[in-house]
């Protein structure tokens, strides 16, 4: 069953949105993600930590006058996201067929 193939971590609504944004550009700053998704700091940080712990995203911290943190998909994250989208497409395709 295709539902079982869905990555439970990525399938969460906010994490899926974060992964989609990270897949669209090379890197995003924390504030850009927060503004785009209209999430609170705490909520966004929690999800970013989860994704980072699983090796799906990389974190870069820099000091340029002010501390700046940017996020990007790792190779594992990109593959996981691509696979996840493929499974979603498969589900919708089967649904239309039936």
């Amino acid at each position: 069953m295709d539902f079982d193939k869905l990555d439970k971590i990525i399938h969460e609504k906010w994490r899926l949105a974060i992964m989609a944004l990270l897949a669209s550009r090379r890197s995003w700053s924390f504030q850009e993600l927060k503004a785009e998704l209209k999430m609170s700091d705490g909520n966004l940080i929690t999800h970013m930590r989860t994704l980072h712990r699983l090796g799906l995203i990389s974190v870069t911290k820099e000091m340029r006058g002010r501390p700046q943190t940017s996020y990007a998909l790792t190779a594992k994250g990109r593959t996981s996201f691509r696979d996840h989208v493929a499974v979603l497409e498969q589900i919708v395709k089967q649904w239309k067929k039936n």
């Binding site: 989609a20 669209s24 924390f30 340029r64 002010r66 501390p67 700046q68 589900i91």
Partner: protein, 219 residues
């Protein structure tokens, strides 16, 4: 919501987020730098050609004027293709990306009038001393081409487009209002717009590229 509906909704959300986040910069900072430097050099060369001691030794003729600027365009396009290829290679993306296709579709209609006018100029127009009209057409339609990408381009590119457009439309007004303008006004306009404007844009785009995260992080 059942799983199937959720899958469909997820795909819609993913598509929307990714499309909204995709900003395509049709003119990169290095391309603007190359175009700007070549334009300034060409404008200086054409300007100095009027002096007997210059290396050219004679005044540049109207058709030569057009060919010099066409050469600048060709060289800049080649440089742009190289920068896009290098960027695509380093990021593992295709050379002709969806963003490039979108930009080309938006820009192409704006190139028809300047292309036809240039062909006419090279065949007949050069006899009538209409270099200023040629330059106005190039500047105005280049500005319109940049503005046609404004929906998915960074703000700096739209500002560059407006600068070209407003300069282009103001040139005939100034030319009519001011008597006794020197003959090299077309060349000065080219140097100012394709040279100086591109250099300013390159400097702005480069500083933004080097400082991607502008906001403090609360983490």
């Amino acid at each position: 919501m059942d799983d199937r509906s959720r899958a469909k909704e997820d795909l819609r959300v993913i598509r929307t987020l990714m499309e909204r986040a995709t900003i395509y910069r049709a003119i990169s900072a290095p391309t603007a730098l190359v175009g700007g430097v070549l334009s300034i050099l060409s404008a200086v060369l054409i300007y100095l050609s009027g002096y007997p001691e210059s290396s050219v030794g004679r005044v540049i003729r109207p058709r030569e004027f057009a060919f010099i600027w066409i050469d600048v365009l060709v060289l800049t396009v080649i440089a742009n293709a190289f920068f896009v290829w290098r960027e695509a290679k380093s990021s593992g993306r295709p050379f002709i990306s969806s963003g490039m296709r979108l930009a080309l579709r938006a820009i192409a209609p704006n190139l028809i009038v300047p292309a036809l006018f240039t062909i006419w100029f090279l065949k007949l127009g050069f006899l009538g001393a209409v270099e200023l009209e040629l330059v106005v057409i190039w500047v105005v339609f280049y500005g319109l081409a940049l503005l046609s990408t404004a929906l998915f381009a960074p703000r700096s590119l739209a500002i560059l487009g407006w600068a070209f457009l407003l300069t282009g439309v103001s040139v005939p007004v100034v030319a009519n209002a001011v008597e006794g303008l020197p003959d090299d006004v077309p060349n000065v306009v080219m140097g100012l717009t394709f040279g100086l404007y591109h250099l300013i844009y390159a400097a702005c785009a480069w500083s933004r590229k080097r400082d991607p995260g502008e906001q403090p992080v609360d983490e």
